[in-house]
Symmetry: C2
Amino acid sequence: MTSVLKIGIAGLGTVGGGVLRLLQAHADLLAQRSGRRIVVAAVSARDRHRDRGVPLDGVRWYDDAVALAADPEIDVVVELIGGANGVAKTVCETAIAHGKPVVTANKALLAVHGPDLAARAEEAGVALAFEAAVAGGIPAIKGVREGLAGNRIDGVFGILNGTCNYILTEMRTTGREFAEVLAEAQKLGYAEADPSFDVDGVDAAHKLAVLAALAFNARVEFDDLHIEGIRQVSALDIAYAQELGYRIKLLGIARRTEQGLSLRVHPCMVAEASPIAHVEGVFNAVVAQGDFVGQVMMTGRGAGAGPTASAVVADLVDLARGLKVPVLGIPAARLERAAVLPMDHRRGAYYLRLMVVDRPGVIADVAAAMRDQQISVESLLQRGRSPGDAVPLVIVTHETDEAAMTRLLAALGALDAVLEPPHVIRIEDL
Amino acid sequence: MTSVLKIGIAGLGTVGGGVLRLLQAHADLLAQRSGRRIVVAAVSARDRHRDRGVPLDGVRWYDDAVALAADPEIDVVVELIGGANGVAKTVCETAIAHGKPVVTANKALLAVHGPDLAARAEEAGVALAFEAAVAGGIPAIKGVREGLAGNRIDGVFGILNGTCNYILTEMRTTGREFAEVLAEAQKLGYAEADPSFDVDGVDAAHKLAVLAALAFNARVEFDDLHIEGIRQVSALDIAYAQELGYRIKLLGIARRTEQGLSLRVHPCMVAEASPIAHVEGVFNAVVAQGDFVGQVMMTGRGAGAGPTASAVVADLVDLARGLKVPVLGIPAARLERAAVLPMDHRRGAYYLRLMVVDRPGVIADVAAAMRDQQISVESLLQRGRSPGDAVPLVIVTHETDEAAMTRLLAALGALDAVLEPPHVIRIEDL
């Protein structure tokens, strides 16, 4: 490599545009920090004529991103196309095969093919950098892989999807239902037209898979993750959560246990007094638990052009400075597939809301079903009287396990007095 | 360097013992992550016979830490002696002069001599790493210097002293006064026998000077910082803060302004709704404001053997991996002395508590004095009636500047009805 670092950017959407603007705005500062100038030598995108706010005169244009990745004039390929397979994957593989480092913001690709790509990159002796793939502008990858390199990491968890956190925050502060807030978020551009990737927890799960691989230096199979989204969270549950001293957050949680890794994304109730409860709106949070350091939390904006560009450029500065780090914390060849704890083994407390007929004897039936599963009650609320009609019955359990809860829900569902499938939210003591 | 990284540790107090234990506990894991084994080859400390929980057989012992720093068998020198001058400085200079990288946890040394040591290290072509010098186990140095390398950083601030944060948290939750909580903290080992370094803000200022140099890529003179501690914070002010929707925190604040850098450590009122208000007890927080990334906050334990050892070892892993980064973010030779904004120019709101004689006309006098300085009232509280005796009069101002407040305090101090020097706490909108 010469004293100039020539980069090719594949994909000029929101993030790509942000990277172009950042590199132009801070060209001199980045040269001072990196010891060399970072220059955009080539780009590839679908629409050649869109205005990205930065002149692209003299920048080579590729209609074919894979051809860009093979361009011998380019030192580093920045992949901002997205998607677990298809052209994004080919671009990364092509760059690596041509001995070029890759910087990518592609969480889906990393979650599904991370260990394979890491092995290819390490065999080729090039870097594969992906700070932008997890939690946007938060330096979470660097924080875990380098900043906490002295620790055995026993857990990593966080708020990994800003769209969900925005929706849950709005639901809490306005009392509105999910569908209404989602529609508004779509209008404001905080949620996609097809929101399922975000609100069904898939995006958070991609990020969690990457974080878990790094934290545990393990080969994590994406299919091993338990994934739930936030569509079932109701305004009523959010109000009860507040009354009980909790907030509802969609968390990704990865924990090392004696029986294997617990890997899951689902709505959680967290204590109002815990710091993560106060990470609101579009902000993300990543918490790592190390055996020497204890808990370290990092918060910031998890998406958007500016924060994501910040992460992409941090990787470029690292490359310009010559950073060499194993992609997933240890050499890819030594990553071992992690044993996974079945979801049935999850232990903790549960929030349970039943819609029941308001008549004497219902609580006795519910209590008997709980006794049969050896699940004990921490608190019970039955508000509002409406004899003969449906009223909510809210129960917080003491610690139990998911298998017992599953049996309890089946038993409760079979009671005449229980009118809807029970609503359950896991309580996490973080 | 060979495939083993041989380190010499100068200073085996709390942190040094923690580093020994961490390196022993995670020898294999660190070798996987670093690509080489990290071995303690030599140590130096005052007491040869103290048990540090780790056998030191086969480790060379030096009574003279400077001789250790010159040992040709050692690849890296870890300086854990402390102090801005004296032997710690000589150890670092000697190691650099002998072409050895240095890892240090010494905030005082960095705050006072950072740019000079950085220049020496860069001339010698060796690293000078100091993650442990700021905010203990939080990877704040790496986060700012590498993780946010794509940004112009406009501000960096935080809770940088765990002793003060513990005392303020205890005062708030128990209602007790400073002296009582300090005495208890000393008994528990959370505060030193001579607490002035912590409670007078000097330790936080050392860390802020280092963070500011990194964030602004500037030469920061320690004497340019405005420093106040927490001795004047009373239980009464903490109670009023709570009533007004604030919490009191000792913050270090560094901001880029058009007239120069604002560099200050003092008690602040922060909104109860802000995330930093919920960083409690011995936890630290570092917040950086980047032009592309927005605000990123990192929290964790700011002191103690485990967290500090975690940071020291992260630096060792970086060195073993061959990381090369300019010590203060850009080459030391290019660091320029920063212009500094005089404290008089600080703008913001103020909390003001006067002890006044409870008689008609006092508020009119106070309001007239405020009008004369063009300072307007956001809210005013006078609780409790005790005609003829002293009662607290609490005022929150709208935004004004420090110079106007200084004039106001002089004017108020001259009023007959004002019985004590006014208590003032700056309100920070972070």
